[in-house]
Point group: C2
Chain length 459, copies 2
């Protein structure tokens, strides 16, 4: 076996114990909140039949799906002409029948359709699993990354939308964030605007342009709207909507004036009002003033969402959206199950990780780490330290004995590298007196404790 | 987009909420014990460079590795002659440079070598991730399944072996098993036996034959030994070892007699005695009588292990080993880092799942499920139920309100299908009296509680 210098596959990452600690802090926080709101975990396989995934993400998406080569003599049935002409693309379906999950949405749709007789609607599920994309890797963009989706299908109640606001708020607070906005829009409002302007066919062009308001300002948006087929008169109609200012209630009031002639637009406004009413009934009217922000420039996933649209941004660091989602009316149509409405949101775990890291918000002394290292001075003392270690573990304390009596300095640097918060120094003197020396690795302080006191302190 | 009837890729599984609940029970139990013993979690990417994996699992293993097709115009650099002759195997390295993880051991070795400057030895890690094999799927054998490995590298102390006995014992008890054996052998004892018989070159043949004692009996083993090159005289020497009976101490005493002339054999016995001494120091001499079983027919992974060998069997149901492992002296040699000793064990999560299922040992009312469903009789009552639900969640109770006021029967069957243990019935009368009707879905009992009593009961 030749010895090779190993490397990671491009765009992939190892996660060290300290990184896992932080990642698990994020995932565990989210999971416990999802469960409190009645969402249950599912998992789907890492690879699906290629036919399940192909055609769901557009031509560009199809190219980014990782295909798995068939096993065995995979070329035996490949058409000779495709091989001869080196036709990479047409050959794929002949030599690959499986592909890695590209997102969690299509596998979820497949799951719902396949298990439709076993699941009771509404089906509330969350799913936290890796997905794979053959993107060109770059800073912050990986070929393997986790998605974190929470969806309910089979319920049209806007209670679900209101609960997603509570979920986002609780999750981000629990993760340590203090200043963030949950932006809210409704696809029907965008349809209403296009209708009022008299150009419903230009809704996509309109939202693409409006979406850039932050970046290019009103003049830039107007210029783009003109290029995309709107008239000066249209711009005058659109102006009060694009420039919507003030509180959420002010915005809603303005929109009602502009959209009064559009049934669908007024319906979108009514949906937002109903979501607000639910949030108020939960006793959290404060969120509607401080956290939730109606933002009609929000056009995320326009071709997909049919009702409310969410996007979450932190105001504490420069970072794109850290979450988003919305209501869709046809998740499972691609697999032949029509008219199943759903609404869901996702959390951008990698971005949230970067935000917490930058703000230094990860908890110190992660709960998953070894809490105590017992220094090994002399294997003769193991008669004392092993029963002690047994008692500590019985009390639920994560503890280890350095497995050989090497130099103290090496043992201390081991504790450092594992971020172990306490070190116990047990020598002959400590064994005979029963007074053990516990060193706090962060403060450097040392205290004397007997065995019971030690267990009490650490458990 | 054509509508297709979806299916799972062959050999893969979806996990429903109730299955995830059970799987998480196993994984969480194991993780918390690993952490108590100072093991920390790492994760490696799902795919590795093909060159990292190839040649590590033998020719048969190489065939079972799932290869990922290169992206883009993957045929452009493929040799025309290989395409023309449809040479599937030689073509692989030209059209695939990545492959799915086949086990956790090789990626762990790569991890240790790549991060050798960042990790402090001994490095104690656990890893619970899926692996993929292009095996022919059959009952109980999947193409995607989880491995669950816990290893320490860089420590030759037999304290580690002793702790693995404690880990197995605690883990299996916590999972609810009552009657199991941790079988223990040592590769050096097997070497010693082959040495004493005078045929060290036949050690593999010998252990393969001895390994079948359970199945084919002593006569069968003897027959096979003769076929594999041993003489009648050898059989006479081997007989007392193969037929080793009695307590562990009896077996050790017999082995000492037989192996007294073999240095390596006596060293293997000494290692087992040292492991036993550690277990005794931990105060668990009872395990050496009731749970641990010295079994020199145990030959698991002979080409790999160099010291102690473990295998775990349950005696409560018919099932192959549910765990195993051992000490190896050259994990990272394949990547150029020599002489790094390690010892590790793994848990067979899928088999453990089947055992717990058969013995009905999964906890009732999994902690991860919704605890309370509030029945929706009338949306007007939401003014009462939403603040109640908010308070319950603040108290950490997983609760949901059925999102629309459909027929009671439908709501109750929803609670049933999600295995929600309690249902709250709130109508006008309950709202005005403040006495809420809580129904226990398992017993069918119903009781009246006010809001504070309800929170107290469920939290």
């Amino acid at each position: 076996m030749a010895s090779i210098k190993p490397s990671l596959a491009k765009g992939t990452r190892d996660f060290s114990p300290l990184e896992m600690d932080k990642r698990n802090f994020i995932f565990n926080t989210l999971k416990s909140i999802f469960r409190k709101f009645g969402y249950a975990e599912i998992q789907t396989p890492s690879f699906e039949n290629l036919s399940t995934l192909t055609g769901k993400y557009g031509d560009e998406g199809d190219k980014l799906i990782f295909k798995i080569l068939n096993s065995g003599d995979y070329l035996s049935k490949a058409p000779a002409d495709l091989l001869e002409s080196k036709s990479s693309n047409p050959l794929i379906s002949h030599i690959s029948e499986k592909a890695l999950r590209y997102d969690l949405t299509v596998p979820f749709a497949r799951y719902v359709v396949m298990h439709q007789n076993d699941i009771a609607l509404p089906f509330k599920r969350f799913q936290i699993q890796p997905v794979w994309r053959a993107d060109r890797p770059q800073r912050g963009r990986y070929r393997e990354f986790y998605q974190c989706d929470v969806d309910v299908v089979g319920s049209s109640s806007l209670l679900n939308e209101a609960e997603f606001i509570l979920i986002y708020n609780e999750a981000l607070l629990k993760l340590g964030l203090k200043d963030f906005n949950i932006k809210l829009n409704n696809r029907k409002i965008l349809s209403g605007i296009a209708e009022v302007v008299g150009k419903p066919e230009l809704i996509v062009d309109m939202t693409v342009a409006i979406d850039k308001l932050d970046k290019i300002g009103l003049d830039g948006v107007n210029k783009e709207l003109l290029e995309r087929g709107f008239t000066e008169a249209d711009l005058a109609t659109l102006k009060p909507i694009i420039e919507l200012q003030g509180s959420n209630l002010d915005k809603i009031a303005s929109m009602k004036t502009v959209l009064s002639d559009s049934t669908v637009g007024m319906q979108g406004i009514a949906e937002i009002e109903e979501v607000f009413a639910y949030v108020e009934k939960f006793g959290r009217a404060d969120l509607l003033e401080k956290v939730v922000e109606v933002d009609i420039t929000l056009a995320r996933g326009l071709n997909y969402y049919t009702g409310c649209i969410f996007e979450v941004k932190t105001n504490e660091v420069q970072m794109g959206s850290i979450g988003g989602g919305g209501r869709y009316d046809d998740l499972t149509g691609m697999f032949g199950l029509k008219d199943l409405t759903g609404v869901g949101v996702s959390f951008g775990a990698d971005r949230i990780y970067d935000v917490l890291e930058e703000l230094n918000l990860f908890p110190q002394g992660g709960s998953e780490r070894t809490k105590l290292l017992i220094v090994n001075f002399d294997s003769a003392i193991e008669d004392f330290t092993l029963p002690l270690m047994y008692r500590l573990r019985e009390a639920g304390v994560a503890v280890e004995l350095y497995p050989s009596a090497v130099k103290l300095k090496k043992q201390m640097s081991y504790a450092d590298s594992k971020a172990i918060p306490y070190v116990l120094l047990v020598g002959d003197e400590e064994v005979s007196s029963g007074q053990l020396s516990l060193k706090n690795m962060e403060t450097g302080e040392q205290e004397k404790l007997n065995m019971d006191e030690l267990i009490e302190k650490l458990k």
